[in-house]
């Protein structure tokens, strides 16, 4: 229990640091959103109206400290402000509209890749010296390939050349969103390529990580003892070796959630998928502080929650942490 409380305190501190950085980093970018808007709209706006727009967007000239206090105050009330890119839509509405797509595709794909990759890693360590070792070079290769490259290759082969899968959007244009089989099918069909990208690109890490630790664990005395006791090899493999070997993999999984969201930005852009990554790109392009802050907040909170869950998993898997 004390362990958990200590962790909780640590996470609160981290959350505060993340919130503060969220506030500061967008403001370090050069330029301001209204100047950018004027440059981008190529004259559909009278430059003299810049002042009017600054007022509409609530861009204040107040000093940084005052802005920071206001920001924390609004945050405490769950108020994320209005997006500049999608003015006057609230940032929370924009995030609510895009987050489900990211969680649906990136989240599910990451879980699949984690479960499949870990299981494959365990098997490969157990049966080393067999044909399964042939997976290793492939995994090493995939480990080195960036997400967007896999995405581009898949778009090129299966989307553009073979035309098996759609290359953009979350569902077909002629489908009306709703709880219908047709809509669900369309969503799955459109999610296939982005999900495959993420599974392919992130699974290799899991395979390699799990296999390497597993190989070490298999040499431990307690594994030899378990075998000597005459336990079934399945029991030895999963309950003795894998249970201990999986600990570092859980940490790396929690840590990698942040990178998953980062990597998914590129995946979403390549597939024109309407998730949080595409929104983040829009926000950055337009120096949309409120939107960027909102998305960064969601990402950092997701990572913190994932780490906390990893800690909980440790408590369950490793009795040593329970004291």
């Amino acid at each position: 229990m004390r362990f958990l409380l200590r962790r909780l305190g640590f996470y609160l501190l981290t959350a505060w640091a993340a919130v503060t950085l969220n506030f500061l980093i967008p403001r370090l970018m050069p330029g301001d959103p209204v100047d950018l808007l004027v440059a981008r709209l190529k004259g559909n706006v009278d430059p003299a109206a810049i002042d009017a727009m600054k007022r509409a967007f609530g861009i204040s000239d107040a000093n940084l400290w005052q802005q920071y206090v206001d920001y924390l105050g609004n945050l405490a009330q769950g108020e994320l402000g209005r997006s500049i890119t999608f003015f006057p839509t609230e940032v929370s509405t924009v995030i609510a509209g895009s987050l489900p797509w990211t969680i649906g595709v990136v989240g599910v794909a990451t879980l699949i890749s984690y479960v499949a990759g870990t299981a494959l890693g365990v098997l490969m360590a157990w049966k080393r010296g067999t044909w399964l070792d042939g997976v290793l070079p492939a995994a090493t290769f995939m480990h080195a390939v960036p997400y967007f490259w896999v995405a581009l290759a898949l778009v090129f082969v299966f989307g553009v050349t073979l035309e098996w899968f759609p290359v953009s959007r979350a569902y077909a244009l002629d489908v009306v969103p709703g709880f219908t089989g047709e809509f669900a099918g369309s969503v799955l069909y459109h999610a296939a390529l982005p999900a495959i990208t993420i599974v392919l690109a992130s699974m290799a890490d899991r395979i390699l990580g799990m296999r390497n630790v597993m190989v070490t664990t298999l040499g431990e005395d307690y594994v030899v003892m378990a075998e000597a006791k005459g336990l079934t090899s399945r029991r030895v493999m999963w309950a003795y070796a894998a249970r201990n070997a999986i600990l570092p993999n859980i940490t790396s999984f929690a840590l990698s959630l942040g990178f998953v969201v980062g990597g998914s930005v590129l995946t979403e852009i390549v597939f024109s998928y309407p998730g949080i990554g595409s929104m983040l790109l829009k926000g950055v392009e337009n120096e949309d502080f409120p939107l960027m802050q909102g998305i960064f907040l969601v990402i950092s909170l997701a990572v913190l929650v994932a780490n906390f869950l990893a800690d909980l998993a440790y408590v369950i898997l490793d009795p040593r942490t329970r004291q």
Partner: protein, 535 residues
């Protein structure tokens, strides 16, 4: 000027070549829907409030809400009565009376009256944050059900386009119940040819307004606006999915035309001018002979051919968009043309210390075409002994540096507006030249000249067309003779349209409106002219 990701996608497409490529939906007996890409967007938010500049969905202005008059930007001076039949200025140019069209109805059945027009301008007056044209509104008065007067604090002749051509009129009875600043108007009620029929984050549709005041129009029954990202629209154009797009296409013959020039058409008229900005606060660049030499050394034809893929033309030395701007050219420079003359350029530079001829050319790196143009300029200027270092920076950084005047040379586009005056004012007006270090809103090179300012003020002080021509010609003369900024080429307005479903699009032969779907309210004017193909 498109992102590198587009180029990446285009590469993929170009490699893929012309495999497959469906011919679009089969033609049905009734008129088919028109599929439109206006701006790149991954998803839409439900916003149809025409007072908004950013975030509002395309079509709100023009298709749903209409303006009082229509100004054809491709034929400056051509004004068509729309919701207003005519306008009349007071002698001092401070009040403007509109006589409105009668019999126009909002789509909820209520009549359109002078109350609505007065209300629209009142909203802008009361909410400075919605005053996107910076109108100096003082008061409005309804004189009769079809007559309304708008008063301004200062002479506003030059703002006629912003007042009558760029302010969509909203229904008072709907908007007065809302806060116009934050209202997202999910169920828009307009006077225009279309009404919103469905909306979701990936697609919205508009259907014909059966009670539209132009009888028998529009002939296109349904408009579909799918969300296309910059990459997505390239694929859509290649596969024939979209009928009307406003996109930069890297290799248009291969990706879009696909050997069918009679149906897969495009038209890229000038919507502004791209110029090389010499920072006039720089001691060397402020010398006219240096600017003249730079201008003489640059091979603009090559820039257009290589960097701009031949999609546009070399600018007229006055910078006035052509064709269309003939009346505004100073007669003695009518046939003026930029020509390369290295010998003369060297001659002009002979008294300048070669060590001083070192400049940095700042370009936004996402605009790959400008980056290429900058490289060509660097090579050209090296031939006359000018050392140019090109520096690509992030878009945000470029906007900020050019705004503050902390650059030697840069490239920037200036929009043409409804008449060349708008462009000239934005490029040359002394009052826009903020001191270096403060963000300017135009005249980024910081040109200060009494004669220029006099001509711009003279234009704004009258509504007489002949005087307008004269003032603009004077400004054109200054452009040619004093080179306050160096026009390179016209910035094109992108428009791809297919004629297999509908015909009647604007073209070089019949430039009745801006052809790009992202220009409002021009796009609605185009839609009203379309007829089903084969009729």
């Amino acid at each position: 000027m498109k992102r590198s990701l587009v180029a990446l996608a285009a590469l993929v497409l170009a490699v893929a070549g012309c495999s497959g490529g469906g011919a679009g939906a089969g033609r049905t007996a009734s008129a088919p829907p028109l599929i439109i890409h206006a701006i790149d967007s991954g998803t839409f938010q439900e916003n149809f409030n025409p007072f908004h500049l950013e975030g509002v969905n395309f079509g709100t202005s023009g298709m749903i809400y209409e303006t009082l008059e229509f100004f054809n930007r491709l034929k400056p001076g051509e004004v068509t009565p729309w919701l207003a039949l005519k306008h009349e200025w007071s002698k001092d140019g401070k009040s403007l009376t509109f006589t409105l069209r009668q019999g126009v109805k909002w789509t909820d059945g209520k009549p359109f009256t002078a109350e609505d027009v007065a209300y629209t301008f009142e909203v802008i007056r009361k909410h400075p944050e919605l005053n996107k044209s910076a109108l100096e509104l003082k008061a409005t008065e309804v004189l009769a059900p079809d007559k309304v007067r708008v008063d301004f604090a200062s002479t506003s002749y030059a703002k006629l386009f912003n007042i009558a051509g760029n302010t969509p009129i909203v229904p008072k009875h709907v908007f007065e119940k809302q806060n116009p600043v934050t209202f997202t108007n999910p169920e828009p009620v307009g006077t225009g040819p279309y009404t919103l029929s469905s909306f979701n984050a990936q697609l919205y549709e508009m259907a014909k307004n059966p009670g539209y005041w132009q009888p028998g129009k529009p002939e296109v029954p349904v408009l579909k606006f799918p969300a296309y990202t910059a990459n997505g629209v390239q694929t859509a154009l290649r596969q024939g999915e979209v009928d009307w797009a406003g996109a930069f296409v890297p290799d248009i013959e291969k990706i879009y035309v696909q050997g069918k020039p009679e149906t897969n058409k495009y038209f890229f008229p000038a919507e502004g001018v791209v110029a090389l900005l010499p920072n006039l606060t720089h001691p060397v660049l402020s010398k006219p002979e240096v600017r003249k030499a730079i201008s003489l050394a640059i091979d603009r034809e090559k820039i257009v051919r290589v960097a701009e893929r031949g999609y546009t033309q070399v600018a007229h030395p006055t910078g006035i968009p052509m064709p269309g701007g003939e009346a505004y050219l100073p007669p003695e420079h009518k046939d003026a043309k930029f020509a390369v003359d290295l010998a003369e350029a060297k001659e002009l530079l002979k008294d300048v210390d070669p060590a001083e001829l070192k400049f940095e050319l700042l370009v936004p790196s996402p605009f790959t075409d400008w980056v290429n143009a900058a490289q060509l300029i660097r090579e050209d200027l090296a031939k006359v002994g000018i050392t140019v270092e090109t520096r690509g920076v992030a878009f945000q950084d470029w906007v900020s540096k050019v705004g503050k005047g902390t650059f030697d040379l840069s490239i920037r586009a200036t929009p043409a507006g409804a008449e060349p005056y708008f462009q000239m004012r934005s490029m040359l007006y002394g009052k826009l030249a903020a001191p270096v270090g403060k963000s300017a809103t135009g005249n980024y090179q910081r040109w200060k000249d009494a004669e220029t300012d006099r001509l711009i003020d003279a234009y704004a002080a009258t509504e007489d067309e002949a005087e307008h021509h004269e003032a603009t010609q004077g400004l054109g003369r200054i452009m040619v003779e004093k080179l306050p900024t160096l026009p390179l080429f016209y910035s094109p307005s992108w428009a791809q349209y297919r004629t297999d479903k509908y015909v009647g699009w604007p073209s070089a032969q019949d430039p009745y409106a801006m052809p790009s779907p992202y220009t409002s309210p021009d796009a609605a004017v185009v839609l009203l002219r379309l007829k089903p193909a084969g009729t």
